[in-house]
Symmetry: C2
Subunit: 356 residues, 2 copies
């Protein structure tokens, strides 16, 4: 296991942005995480520093014996050793949560080389397992995380109650401890004003919708994380299957709306896409929200075959590259918000200029 | 004299948009008009139809004897024979006023080949002489219109009062009947918020400021027509000289502000310019105001040497080409506002694509 430099992450392809994955025209990525805790240990918020450190060591040792994290090149990041920029990068690559970075000892992230598999130790729960895959692959992702969970379960004694299932720090995770989410790109539903109705319908089905980077962020870039709310009283399989059914309906609805727009409002669609490209190609200052929204327009344009020279892989990479942490790492220093906006514009201009 | 088709105007270079004229980086054009009426005839608003027609014939006959309008290819347009699109074109080329197009007979426009010299017969006054020149050329323009006025005065008996000077329909024109105006492009003063103070200062000096196309239009495209308010109690020379002094001060102020912006806020300036280019190059629907504002940004970019392949002559031509009348004439039919916005975007995209 390598105690690694966050910088190395930037030079690796991010698996979950692979454009050849199933349904990847609309489904950017599939993520499943499981919340687990060790029996006979207090939850991190109640535990002493020593107990947190001990739990961290126990889990790290167990992880080394799993298939996904046993490799010599698996990376390990310890919260206390990371500066602000590194922390942002782990957040932006969806390997950590904002809550993870506090002064409590024993906070550690283990990541497999392609970032598809990761563990977060001593966040809200002692252990959060995560598998991140491109496109819509709920079944496959579930199988992978199930295997990892089984392998860890052989080494670790998980807190489990016969009536409730897995015990977690927050009651909303008790039961399966499973959260499955799919990131969808839904520009046509947003453009036609149908997204509001879609969100209301999803709320009734107890499906949660969040923005691109966690609970507090807005709906920039027409990106939506769709995930299950219920973890108690249903099997993992049922949760996965019913989520998949719902996701497929949303994808169909987005595709139908795109087709309709192309017929009925071709010019308004082209205008959105063209202006997005024009902004990214020629601006000199660009906020994160405007960048995400413009990349959304550009991606739609590529999806519809309007920009032959721009490929989806590059746009997917840009979705992460334009984030503040990545920009600051790339330019080698801490930047103000205004400076980030300028470097973001440079980054976008250069990317698109090179692909002309 | 040719009783001409408005379409022919579109294929001629517009003199007042010549980019090699003095101070043409900021001063787009200089215009002087004189208001005149014939002695022993009622002003158009009070005259009978027959009297209007008679006045029109008398003035037309006199115009044929002038140097500027004697040529065989001078054009003649009669209000009642023009459709809405043709009328818009004459307005957009600043050869007519909105008030000119009513049902009263004997309304006619005479135009010399390059459009530098024109007469408008039976608008508010029986005769409005106009000279339109590129850049800042108040003295030269005054000499030209003075010559035309003299030549017409030999044939026509102008209503003149020893105490008041030339008599006009509206008291604000009595005296010299002269209105001199210079169209200035002032993006830096607008961007830095200095324009408000400039406007207040000009009001105190009894200098009028209008938008790009007449009294009612807004300040689109950062274009401002600066003109004298006073016509009574000052000589033509004094009016011209004091306007020139003021115009030179505004031009200096704009140039200083551009220089300052380039030093202190280089990136914000480049951003405005880049985004303007991006919009014009890639949009699919564009309002008149947005087009004017974007062309303003593009022109500033060319002025500052940022776009080597786009020349000022083309931008100047686009400032007129994007107007509704010109678009409709070009596409050969009457268009709705939404259709104009689409064709305007096509026009701009094509122009910039060709110059890439």
């Amino acid at each position: 296991m390598i105690y690694d430099n966050v910088e190395n992450l930037l030079n690796r392809p991010v698996t979950f942005l692979d454009e050849s994955a199933p349904d990847s025209q609309i489904a950017i990525s599939t993520r499943i995480r499981l919340a687990r805790n060790l029996a006979d240990h207090l939850f991190p918020s109640l535990a002493t520093d020593d107990e947190c450190t001990a739990v961290c060591d126990t889990i790290t040792a167990a992880a080394k014996k799993t298939t996904a994290l046993s490799k010599r090149n698996a990376m390990c990041f310890t919260s206390s050793e990371l500066d602000d920029i590194d922390r942002s990068i782990l957040l932006e690559r969806r390997l950590a949560s904002p809550e993870f970075f506090t002064a409590v000892p024993g906070r550690r992230i283990l990541v497999c080389p392609q970032e598809a598999c990761s563990l977060m130790i001593n966040e809200e729960d002692q252990l959060r397992l995560q598998i991140l895959r491109p496109g819509l692959q709920l079944r496959k992702t579930w199988q992978e995380i199930n295997l990892l969970d089984d392998q860890l379960g052989k080494e670790l004694d998980f807190a489990f109650d016969d009536q409730f299932g897995f015990l977690t720090s927050c009651p909303t995770n008790v039961g399966t401890g499973l959260r499955a989410s799919v990131m969808l790109h839904l520009p046509a539903l947003v453009l036609t004003g149908q997204m509001e109705a879609t969100l209301k319908g999803l709320a009734k089905l107890r499906i949660e919708v969040r923005g691109v980077y966690g609970e507090l962020s807005d709906k920039s870039g027409n990106l939506f994380q769709i995930s299950n709310q219920v973890t108690l009283g249903e099997s993992e399989s049922r949760i996965i299957d019913s989520l998949e059914t719902i996701i497929r309906q949303i994808i169909d609805s987005e595709l139908r709306t795109r087709k309709k727009l192309l017929q009925s409002d071709h010019n308004a669609l082209l205008d959105q896409i063209g202006r997005a490209y024009g902004r990214l190609r020629y601006c000199y200052t660009l906020t994160e929200k405007e960048a995400l929204d413009s990349l959304s327009g550009l991606r739609l344009g590529v999806d519809l075959g309007l920009f032959k020279d721009v490929n989806i892989a590059m746009i997917n990479e840009m979705f992460t590259g334009i984030m503040n942490g990545h920009l600051q790492k790339r330019y080698g220093k801490k930047l103000t918000t205004a400076e980030c906006d300028i470097f973001r514009a440079v980054f976008c201009r250069e990317k698109l200029r090179r692909s002309e």
